[in-house]
Symmetry: C2
Subunit: 290 residues, 2 copies
Amino acid sequence: MSTTAEARLMDGSGLARRLVEETAARAAELTRRTGKEPCLATVLVGEDPASVTYVRMKRARCEKAGIRSRHVELPATTTTEELVAALRDLSDDPDVHGILLQHPVGRHIDERAAFEAIAPEKDVDGVTTSSFASMSFGLPGFVSCTPGGIMRLLDAYDVDPAGKRAVVVGRSAILGKPAGMLLLARNATVTYCHSHTPAADLSAAVREADIVVAAVGRARFIKGEDIKPGAVVIDAGYNEGNVGDVDFEPAAERAGLITPVPGGVGPMTIATLLAQTVDAAERQLGTTTA
Amino acid sequence: MSTTAEARLMDGSGLARRLVEETAARAAELTRRTGKEPCLATVLVGEDPASVTYVRMKRARCEKAGIRSRHVELPATTTTEELVAALRDLSDDPDVHGILLQHPVGRHIDERAAFEAIAPEKDVDGVTTSSFASMSFGLPGFVSCTPGGIMRLLDAYDVDPAGKRAVVVGRSAILGKPAGMLLLARNATVTYCHSHTPAADLSAAVREADIVVAAVGRARFIKGEDIKPGAVVIDAGYNEGNVGDVDFEPAAERAGLITPVPGGVGPMTIATLLAQTVDAAERQLGTTTA
């Protein structure tokens, strides 16, 4: 008997597989009805090896799901203006339904300006300010893929955030901040912790939390002993050595539900990207009123 | 000796007066240099007595500060489409620098659609999703006036939110949510409480808070006994009988700094509106590079 098998594992890989199957079926149906495949444009600036790998993986997943991908590779010397122009062209292109800008882009590029060049109706990665506001106000629109994947995981395990205390550790524009807003929209009491939160306050906040979302990018940053017995622990970190942001074994001894790393949040991120690409294609090709 | 004079009062009226004086000086200078007065368009739908009073008060303050106001009155039967069209016209009008839609508008109107018809560069009341995202991401843009007034109050009393625990009670789109985002941008650890937060969790969150922002619209909802000794208490409520959201007397016995109601947050809201109107006019008339 394992000493760390107290918590139920949240099977992101399995849930993502089912979501991709549904998405592939929708893509096939859309292609059958309209003669057009849903298309995701992937934009890569430079040759950062991790970014190259991520984009290749996303494109391979698209292909398996019957989603065409159009790859745009730009040199590392690309200026903000050139990148914005490329993203505007894709925004205007009726054959492109979703746009993914692989980030981080180079430091010399104004990433926010680049994101904002993506038309909101094609922002299937949920990176524009328009998408953030939609998430925050419960308006129609796309969600950031990792927070969206987290909400799908909670739903799949019948975790209703309403009235629960949630802590989000991390406040990045496409992960921590929108994750907190989505939990708030679902009526959780939400606390944001981050790099300026004193360690004692972080511990106190985690100790009270029914739902912990770790999105800080620091290996084993969340101590297992701080997890409240029975809490739901969502680890969105993915650090060197396949290690998450939560110290898994001691956390699993206390949690009610916990995501493994890998195999938890990660697969849900890509699955959400694919699902939203087909959502976008359906809307743009006029086969849904949603 | 008063039994309730433990806390220092945060003098919103005095601070607002100074801000309005500065704003009036800027307005006069702008008019002198460009020959054009800064202009705020106020839009009122229907004849709700409270709304009529608020708009009249805002216009009177504009006049005193050397800001022209253009008043647009629409009948209660105005449709969303008609209101959107009116706001778009004002957005396109080069003689209008800021736009205020008095809200709430009637229930038959899609308020969000109306807000979104305001050009972000004229959104001096900070109600558009664009302004919300700017506040959330620390980008240039206008702030919602009440949260913006709150931040000015904190600054005036040298309260640095960084590393402090802040609780925001309420999550409306133009008060609670942006107030929390502004505090988060200033590096506070922020907790959002609201109508789905159980009473015990609300008490617990308030008890731990160094900064309490009450923005819930329920008289004396925040109990004085929950205030942490020395905390900064910002009461953005204004309920029947001139009563705030915080039970003032017991809270003042424990707080380090507290806003009175009236005379705390309220005056700062209008002063922020005026200041942002002149900011907008300066930018549109090209007299600043900000």
